[in-house]
């Protein structure tokens, strides 16, 4: 907790939730996306249809799901389907507006690694792998990413491309996505503990908003490349009292995501 009255993680989660204000159908990834999307459902996007890869469309979780397969996503849901149906009929059919993912490593074009740190055959650190992320990155209409910034995570070259983003840049990405019949346009926003990044015309991340208390020096010190910064850099509005109450009392009373 900082002197601002909220933590960096709380700011990140609130900012990520607000990005979902106009989304209708969101595929909820494991970890930080789970709490961000559940906060959005309780604030800016009450009509949001939450899709969980475990096989749920239209979840109405009464508590924050402990994992993305929690029984609370089943009780009261619109539909429970097999995972073949979920990935086939809902995702591959093109019905998902936003895929909300986390990442261990990301590059300037939004390509994501969740597989290994180091060499694949002889990894320094074995990470969980794709799960559904690879097909979500390809088939969700757009991709939102939520992750903390550090020199280890915002890297020049990711060690393994688990899930494609804007590949080598927007021009190449658009051509390959069109030719390959992908449903998805690729990543559109990355929300971190320091700010909000969108992707410019070249397909590269651009810092558009800095969270209260964060500085550009901090941003540069936690990223491996010289970042693009918007000429019209905004300050992210701080978390509202209601956002903080929901996170602290309803969604994450144990402080698992917000420590």
């Amino acid at each position: 907790m900082s002197e601002l009255g909220f933590s960096k993680s709380e700011m990140m989660i609130a900012a990520a939730a607000r990005e979902l204000a106009t989304a209708r159908v969101c595929f909820v990834g494991v970890g930080l996306p789970n709490i961000a999307v559940n906060l959005a459902k309780r604030t800016v996007a009450p009509d949001l249809e939450m899709v969980y890869e475990a096989g749920v469309f239209g979840a109405r979780p009464a508590r924050l799901p402990l994992s993305i397969g929690d029984p609370t996503i089943v009780t009261g849901a619109t539909a429970v389907v097999s995972m073949f149906e979920l990935f086939g009929y809902y995702l591959q059919r093109g019905l998902v507006d936003v895929g909300f993912l986390g990442a261990a490593q990301i590059d300037r074009f939004g390509n994501i690694n969740t597989t290994v740190i180091g060499d694949y055959e002889r990894p320094r650190t074995r990470l969980p792998g794709s799960g559904g992320a690879c097909e979500i990155a390809i088939n969700a209409r757009e991709v939102f990413v939520i992750m903390r910034q550090s020199k280890r995570s915002f890297v020049d070259r990711i060690d393994f491309r688990t899930s494609p983003g804007n590949l080598g840049g927007a021009e190449q990405s658009e051509a390959i996505r069109r030719a390959g019949g992908w449903n998805g346009r690729g990543p559109s926003v990355v929300v971190t503990d320091l700010g909000i990044w969108h992707f410019d015309d070249t397909g590269e991340m651009r810092l558009d908003s800095l969270h209260p208390g964060a500085t550009l020096e901090e941003v540069r010190a936690t990223i491996a490349w010289e970042p693009k910064v918007s000429a019209d850099l905004q300050t992210t509005p701080p978390p509202t009292a209601e956002e903080l109450r929901l996170v602290r009392e309803e969604l994450d009373p144990g402080g698992i995501y917000t420590k």
Binding site: M83, P128, G131, G132, C134, F160
Partner: protein, 308 residues
């Protein structure tokens, strides 16, 4: 009503053989922990373990030395962190001269597609995934295929036909007609893809219960070899409507799994030194079990109609 009903000990002894490809499926929900523990207890060896999300059960089984290879799509302790016993068998820094666990890795849809190809007797299943990903380089069984109807190039995966699928469920009758509600994962596909199927249930019911609600039947007795009745057999995972995930266990497993000696001590205390699941449940204690009971949320009933 005896039918295919047998004990876990006999089912695993008869149907799981050294070297088999074994799929214990169930996505977060209905994970067959009691079956996994029995496989460890019987010291099966050289298994190829397939499962979308290896979860704590495969961490325990691999620590128990039953496996030579793992086929998977997401390797983690859900909501907690990594699977440390498995990581020790993959990361060279911690191998200490032992051969690494062989791995074969997909995405979730890729694993589902493999079981689906296996269940439908097809040589491959195409999907719109893996484009521009490094996964096909890491796993050469993920291959591009040109559509015979257009210029489109997709990726495809081969069928996965386990020797044995083990499925935990809410209920079955003595013939193995099995009903599940809540998350369905890929259990149906895994069961139809497998040569042998063991169903483990919370409750054995009369055939009339199944016939009163046939839409809920996921696996027909036709493909089931053994029915094992083991209440709380999915603990510490959950069974929709019966018990919640025991999250304390998943959290506790993290520090245990970071230390090989602690893992082996845990396996001794909770697997090798216990005869069966009933003893595990008794050791767990009534209070712990009671704390996992959800409140009620019954479904409405439907009228199938009587047509004579």
């Amino acid at each position: 009503m005896t039918g295919k009903v047998t004990s876990m000990r006999d089912a695993v002894a008869a149907l799981v053989r050294d070297g088999d490809t074994v799929a214990i499926e169930g996505f977060t929900h209905l994970i067959g922990f009691s079956a996994g523990h029995e496989i460890v207890r019987q010291r099966k060896r050289d298994l190829v373990l397939a499962r979308m999300t290896p979860d704590v059960i495969y961490d325990q089984m691999i620590a128990g030395g039953v496996a030579r290879k793992l086929i998977f799509s997401w390797l983690g302790n859900p909501g907690v962190g990594g699977l440390n016993a498995i990581r020790r068998r993959i990361e060279p820094a911690s191998l200490a001269g032992e051969p690494p666990l062989e791995i074969e890795e997909y995405s979730h849809f890729g694993m589902v597609a493999r079981y689906t190809a296996g269940a439908t007797n097809l040589p491959f299943m195409p999907l719109r995934s893996y484009f521009e990903s490094d996964l096909p380089k890491a796993n050469p069984l993920i291959r591009p295929i040109k559509s015979p109807y257009s210029d489109e190039v997709l990726y495809c995966v081969p069928p996965l036909n386990p020797d044995v699928a083990i499925i935990h469920a809410q209920r079955a009758d003595a013939s193995g007609d099995t009903q599940i509600w809540g998350l369905l994962g890929c259990q149906k596909e895994a069961a139809f893809a497998a040569d042998r199927v063991i169903v483990v249930v919370e409750e054995l019911v009369d055939e009339s219960v199944v016939r009163a609600d046939p839409n809920r039947t996921v696996i027909p007795g036709l493909i089931v070899d053994a029915v094992v009745v083991e209440p709380f057999g999915a603990h510490p995972s959950y069974v929709q409507g019966a018990y919640d995930r025991d999250n304390r266990f998943y959290l506790d497993w993290d520090p245990i799994s970071r230390d090989e000696d602690k893992v082996q001590a845990w396996l001794r205390e909770w697997v090798y030194d216990l005869p069966d699941r009933a003893a595990y449940v008794e050791k767990l204690g009534a209070e712990r079990i009671a704390s996992l009971r959800p409140g009620p949320a019954p479904s409405g009933s439907v009228d199938y109609g009587s047509y004579r």
